[in-house]
Structures are given as structure tokens and as C-alpha cells.
């Protein structure tokens, strides 16, 4: 029941945003005809003193059909065909995921700097517009709307945390802006959220848990306990692990859900100890991951169980230090010391620009932004269908090995790496890749049918017809 609350809340947020948009367009600057009508009505308002709402009601019926018909025409006429190609990048710069957001920004900046150095896209420079979402879905939706309506961005990327991604995606779908999502979420590539405009460069919780769960089930015990961040990300991780665990005979001996942003986990420890699990999964992220690993270590949990993070973040390992993460294993999409030619190029360029190696979230942002912009270049225009055709089914290798865009849902298929925290010999030398779990042949992905799509057709839902 509570599970749906999150979604309901953002749906409400999004729908109120929609009302705002419609209202704003009705009242202010719609098409030429509408403009004349609105101007005329505005005078009436001042004369007779009717409030805005009554004004909308009376004019709405008359102008509504004209306006809604011209709705998308408005946007297109506003979008500039010359000047730079603008990429909107709302990220949670402040809040518990601030460190990872900074790396997302650095990754996107690098991709764009490289593209601009080679002459840009379609002969135009590319520009990155970063906004702070404060890790709040409503704020993310507002920032995205602002980027689209005031800044007229052509492409959207960025965002961290599932609820925020969905909120931004909703705005992008509404306005027909291609959005390449660069952090984990299951729903984003699933009905009803996905669309022809939506691309998901990052792994999703399902893939992550299939890969990590498989490794853990084979290697460690069968009694699993979950310490879960109480929102979509955490729930999906737990669900995924339980599903994968069943195939290997592992079972859950308990789950504790904690509020996002909890700083003290000591009161969760007695319960975990009492359940006597073989493996403890920390299904949380950012500072929550640091704090829970730090405190689990202090309570001596590591002596009794293996600690596993579905996504073991380099930023957490650096922020938490060596001791809390000693021996902890987890999954990742990328680690800077991996031995692969494109990875080495990316790391060298990133290091040159930022003075330090990139984390996995910098990799997503770099790969995703580069991929969609190169897609625009190949398509020869910003037309959504041409762009989709230029990307779908493509095998590419931007920074970490081969990836593949599945046409039915725009999910990027990729390998997952299992890493283990080690004693650092140098400042950023913190992990060791202990296994590469191959993503080939959609083995880690949900099937097209599971995500509500037709396996034999590329996704075309949500396409806005143009006048």
C-alpha cells in the first residue's frame, strides 16, 4: 500500500504541474489567435474585475480547442533552430546524494567538452544547463519544466533517484523532449512511464540484483537480510534479490526499512544480529550507505555475516574510509581501474579535467550524454523518431565495454562488475574487480513483455504528433 504512495504523490505533483502549464498557456502567450483573444479578455478582466479563474473558465471553452491544438506548435516555434544545442541537467547537488551528483555533472561536462572540441553537433555548439533538484521529486519536476519552458533545452539528462527521474521524465514526455536517464530506476523503462523520448543509459535495479544476487548466492550463505532505504530504489533492490535468490535456494530472513537520509543505524543492529543472517544487503545509497556500513562495522556485524551493497559506490568508500568498507562487496557499472581501451581513454580525459578519477555515476553521465548527442548527429536532426532510429539496436562502447540499446524499451544492455573493497595502495585505488557478470543476450534484463512492450517492435508510444 505504502509502495504506491510515492508514485501517487509524484503523479499528483505532475498533474498539478500540467494544470499549471495549461493554465499558464491559456492565460498568457498561446498561438497568434489565442494571443489576440487573451489580450481582448484581459482588458475585460481589468474592467469588470473578474479573477483569473473565472476568466479562464469563460475563455477556456472558446479558446480551449484552438489552444490545445496549437499547444505543441507553440513549443516548436519557441525552440531555436540556430544557436547552441542545450542539454538540461537537473541533479541533486544538495542533499545526501550531493557527492554523486557532482560527479554526474563532471561526466556530462567532459562529454560535451569533447564534442564541442570536435565542432559540436549538427554544426552547433552544445551547452550544459545544470540545476539543483535538492533530491525532491517536486523540485525536480519544477526545474525540468523551467529548463524546457524558459531555457528551451533540446535534450534532457541527469537526475538521480528513481522518483526524481520519473518526475523529470513526465515533464519531458509532456513537452516531447528526449531524456536520457543516467541513474538507476526500474519504472523508467516500463509502462506507463517509458516513451519514445525516454532512454535509460544506467543499469536498473533489476539488472543489478540479478548480477549481484547470482554472485552472492553462489559464493556466500543462503540466509539473507535486507536493510532497505524506504523508497522505490530500496524496494526494487530487495524484490530483485529475493527473486534471484529463489533460483539459488537463498531466502530472506528479514528486512528492515529505514527512512531515506537516516544518520544513525545503531537501533537497527540488534534486530539484524538476532536474525543471524549469512549475508546483509545494504539496499541504500550515498551517505546512507556510508553511515550504515560505518555503524555495522562498529557493531561487529562483519565477523558474523558478509556485507553486500547492490551498488558499491566509490564515493561512499572514499567518504567512509577504509575500515567501514573493508571486505564489503557489491556491484558497479564501472570502476576506473578496469582494463579496457575506452575506459582508459575516458579515465585519462576525466583525470586531466578534474584531477581525480571518475566514479560510476560520472561514467553514466558521460556515456549517456555522449550517446544521445552522437545520436542527434547521426540522425541529422532533433526529430524524435529519427533520433530513436539512430540509437535503437545500436552496439556502442563509450567508456566501459560494449553496450546495446534494446529497441523495445530503450534500456542499455551492459555488463555488471562485482567489486570488493580493498586496502588502498593509492588514494583512489580502493576496489578490486572480482568478477564480470556478462549482460549478453538480455540475460540480466527483464523481458520486453515484462516491461509492457512489444518484443518485435521499437517503442513508439508517447510520440507527440506535430502540426
Amino acid at each position: 500500500m505504502v509502495k504506491n504512495l510515492d508514485r501517487i504523490v509524484y503523479k499528483i505533483v505532475v498533474s498539478t504541474e500540467m494544470i499549471d502549464i495549461v493554465e499558464a498557456r491559456m492565460t498568457y502567450q498561446p498561438t497568434k489567435e489565442g494571443m489576440i483573444m487573451a489580450e481582448g479578455k484581459k482588458e475585460q478582466v481589468t474592467q469588470s474585475g473578474i479573477d483569473r479563474r473565472t476568466f479562464i473558465k469563460t475563455t477556456g471553452i472558446v479558446t480551449g480547442s484552438v489552444l490545445l491544438g496549437g499547444f505543441h506548435f507553440v513549443r516548436l516555434s519557441q525552440a531555436q533552430d540556430t544557436g547552441p544545442i542545450k542539454v538540461g541537467f537537473p541533479i541533486p547537488l544538495t542533499g545526501p546524494y550531493g557527492t554523486e551528483a557532482k560527479d554526474q555533472q563532471a561526466g556530462a561536462e567532459l562529454a560535451i567538452a569533447q564534442i564541442n572540441a570536435k565542432g559540436g553537433i549538427l554544426g552547433r555548439k552544445v551547452e550544459l544547463l545544470v540545476r539543483d533538484t535538492k533530491l525532491n521529486a517536486a523540485e525536480a519536476a519544477r526545474r525540468a519544466k523551467e529548463l524546457i519552458e524558459s531555457e528551451h533545452v533540446h535534450i534532457m539528462s541527469g537526475v538521480l533517484s528513481a522518483a526524481n527521474q520519473l518526475a523529470v521524465n513526465e515533464q519531458c514526455k509532456l513537452h516531447g523532449i528526449p531524456y536520457v536517464s543516467v541513474s538507476q530506476a526500474n519504472e523508467i523503462t516500463q509502462r506507463p512511464d517509458n516513451s519514445i523520448y525516454t532512454y535509460h543509459e544506467a543499469m536498473d535495479p533489476h539488472m543489478t540484483t540479478q548480477a549481484v544476487g547470482e554472485y552472492v548466492a553462489k559464493k556466500y550463505g543462503k540466509k539473507w537480510y535486507f536493510l532497505t532505504s524506504d523508497y522505490a530504489y530500496g524496494w526494487q533492490m530487495t524484490d530483485g534479490f529475493i527473486r534471484r535468490g529463489k533460483e539459488y535456494g537463498a531466502k530472506s530472513v528479514g528486512e528492515t526499512k529505514h527512512p531515506l537520509g537516516t544518520s544513525d543505524y545503531s537501533s537497527y543492529m540488534p534486530r539484524i544480529l538476532a536474525a543471524k543472517p549469512d549475508v546483509l544487503f545494504l539496499n541504500n545509497f550515498g551517505k546512507d550507505q556510508i553511515n550504515s556500513a560505518k555503524q555495522a562495522t562498529a557493531f561487529g556485524l562483519k565477523k558474523k555475516m558478509q556485507i553486500v551493497c547492490p551498488i558499491l559506490l566509490m564515493s561512499s568508500r572514499l567518504g567512509g574510509g577504509e575500515e567501514p568498507f573493508d571486505g564489503v562487496i557489491g556491484g558497479t557499472s564501472f570502476y576506473w581501474e578496469m582494463n579496457h581501451p575506452t575506459a582508459k581513454e575516458f579515465v585519462a580525459a576525466f583525470q586531466k579535467a578534474n584531477g581525480r578519477p571518475p566514479i560510476d555515476y560520472a561514467g553514466y553521465a558521460y556515456g549517456g550524454v555522449k550517446e544521445i548527442l552522437m545520436g542527434v548527429e547521426r540522425a541529422g536532426s532533433l526529430d524524435p523518431t529519427k533520433l530513436a532510429e539512430a540509437i535503437e539496436g545500436r552496439t556502442y562502447d563509450n567508456y566501459k565495454g560494449p553496450q546495446w540499446w534494446r529497441p523495445c524499451d530503450h534500456q542499455s544492455q551492459q555488463d555488471v562488475f562485482i567489486i570488493k573493497s580493498k586496502k588502498a595502495k593509492a588514494e583512489y585505488d580502493v576496489f578490486q574487480i572480482i568478477q564480470t557478470v556478462s549482460g549478453k543476450g538480455e540475460r540480466l534484463l527483464r523481458t520486453c513483455i515484462e516491461v509492457g512492450q512489444n518484443p518485435s517492435k521499437p517503442i513508439r508510444s508517447g510520440l507527440i504528433e506535430k502540426k
Binding site: L93, T94, F299
Partner: protein, 292 residues
């Protein structure tokens, strides 16, 4: 559920409550005497943690950090009182409130500029990194036991200072009726100055104590500040006894809620506040009329 788990949970609650106690004491002592609602208290707590990180980075000595952090933050408090708070005495209670509210963002921004937004690792000292056996039934991190012990010592020292020294008695008298104390020829300005420093130092020591348990980052004080205001309001604005009792109650409330319904853990303190304020509108040990 095994009874040992419940005992351990109660013990956890006690250790959780200790940070609240330290921070609430600082807030309460400042409010009790100066009627200044110090919104920069959370930022001072954060500065305490960073002062600790810096000291350990330079000297490698945690015990020194425990000394340096309250001195740095306390000294900063003295400076703030003299330069910023003092001109606002005698005005509406909202003036210093707004001032410190702004000050906290400046303090956070300073840290962001010089230290960045990332977390800083901070380990408990070697001697306290082993789990300790408690009552022979469960293990508990030695560091947290140390935090409980140190908080008890600080509470005792504070009690001794306020009840058994001349200066403390002046402070107590000033809390009751500062005009009368002034009339007796005592320079209340200096007393206020000192008390603001003590309150700030308490935030500093709470910060450095929290650093090995929680991650150290610029906004670490924001959530803590809200929780501590709840603790102070429940205990009664300006009451030290109330701050201690309410801090422990909140720690236990969180611990017990976590055991039975963890999703509620971060709002249970607000429920407790609502219930307490319904029964006792000025808090457990609050004096009526302080805010008017």
C-alpha cells in the same frame, strides 16, 4: 523477540539520546539566559566535526581533537556574540533568530568552499574501535559507550558549575531576573558573552563526538538542528534538566519505534512532541512566559 535484543535496543536508545542531550543543553543554556534562539547551532555542530577532522588530519590524535573542537567552536561563539548578537539585545526575539538563521547558511557555505561537499572519513580512535561486552549479554561499540560516559561527565561538570560556583549562581540568577542581577552591580554583558561561548562549545564537542559515528559533510547539522529543537521544546525551553531528560526520551522513542515499526522512526519524535505539548504546553520543565 529475545529479551537481550530489547535490552540492547534500550541501550542503543540511550547512546542515541546522548548527542541530543549535548546539543539540546547548548541550545537550552543559551536560550535560558539570553532568550536567543540559536539557529546556527546545527552549523556549529558541523564545524565541531570539521575541526575534529582537521585536528586528526594534522596531528593524528583523536583526544586532541576532542579538546580542539570545543575550543574552536566556543571561541567562534564568543566572537559571534560580541560582534553580531550583542547589538540585538533588547530587541524582538526574532532579530537574533533571523540573524543566526542566516549565519548558519554562511557557515555551511564556508565549509563547502574550502572543504567541498564530499564526506570526510573519520575513524574512532584505535583504543575504542573494539566492541565491548555489556552486562555480559551483548556487544556494543566501545566508542558509543565512551560517548555515553563523556556526556554524563559533561552533564555533571555543567551541573557543578551552575550549582556550586559563584559564576554559575550568577548565571542562574540572571536566568530568573537579569535586571535585578544588573542592579546588584554585576556586568551581565560579560555573563551573556560567556554563556554563548559555553553553549557553542557544547555544539562543537557534540560535532566531534558524532564524527566517527555519522558521515561528516556540510549539511550534517541541518537535520540535527530540527531534531534538537524538538528535544528542547519537549524538555521545556531554557531548562537544562528538561534538555537531558527529553534527549534521553527521544533516543529511546526512536530506538523502540525502530524495533517495532522502523518506517516511523524519523517522525516519532514529532509525535512525542505533539503529545507532550498537548499535556504540558510549555514542555516538561518549561517556565511559562519565557517567549513572550
Amino acid at each position: 523477540m529475545e529479551w537481550t535484543a530489547i535490552v540492547m535496543q534500550l541501550f542503543t536508545g540511550l547512546s542515541l539520546g546522548m548527542l541530543y542531550v549535548l546539543l539540546a543543553l547548548g541550545l537550552s543554556i543559551i536560550f535560558g539566559l539570553l532568550t536567543v534562539v540559536n539557529f546556527a547551532h546545527g552549523a556549529m555542530y558541523m564545524w565541531g566535526a570539521y575541526a575534529g577532522v582537521a585536528t586528526v588530519a594534522i596531528t593524528g590524535n583523536f583526544w586532541l581533537a576532542l579538546l580542539v573542537a570545543p575550543l574552536v567552536v566556543g571561541g567562534y561563539g564568543l566572537l559571534v556574540e560580541r560582534t553580531l548578537i550583542r547589538p540585538l539585545y533588547g530587541r524582538d526575539i526574532n532579530y537574533p533568530l533571523l540573524l543566526t538563521f542566516g549565519l548558519q547558511f554562511i557557515m555551511i557555505e564556508i565549509i563547502r568552499i574550502f572543504w567541498g561537499t564530499s564526506d570526510y572519513p573519520f575513524q574512532a580512535p584505535e583504543a575504542l574501535s573494539m566492541p565491548l561486552e555489556i552486562f555480559g549479554i551483548f556487544y556494543f561499540p566501545a566508542y558509543r559507550v565512551f560517548v555515553i560516559g563523556l556526556t554524563v561527565v559533561i552533564c555533571f561538570v555543567l551541573w557543578f558549575f551552575l550549582e556550586r560556583t559563584n559564576l554559575g549562581l550568577i548565571i542562574k540568577a540572571g536566568t530568573r531576573d537579569s535586571l535585578m542581577v544588573k542592579a546588584l552591580g554585576i556586568d551581565m554583558g560579560r555573563i551573556w558573552w560567556l554563556v554563548f561561548g559555553i553553549g557553542s562549545a557544547l555544539a562543537g564537542i557534540a560535532g566531534v563526538l558524532a564524527a566517527p559515528i555519522r558521515s561528516v559533510f556540510p549539511e550534517m547539522g541541518l537535520a540535527m538542528l530540527v531534531e534538537c529543537f524538538v528535544v528542547v521544546v519537549v524538555g521545556g525551553m531554557g531548562s537544562l534538566k528538561g534538555a537531558i531528560l527529553s534527549g534521553i526520551i527521544m533516543g529511546e522513542a526512536i530506538a523502540i519505534t525502530t524495533l517495532f515499526y522502523p518506517q516511523m522512526a524519523d517522525i516519532v519524535i514529532f509525535l512525542v512532541m505533539a503529545v507532550v505539548l498537548l499535556i504540558r504546553p510549555s514542555g516538561l520543565f518549561g517556565r511559562a512566559g519565557l517567549l513572550e
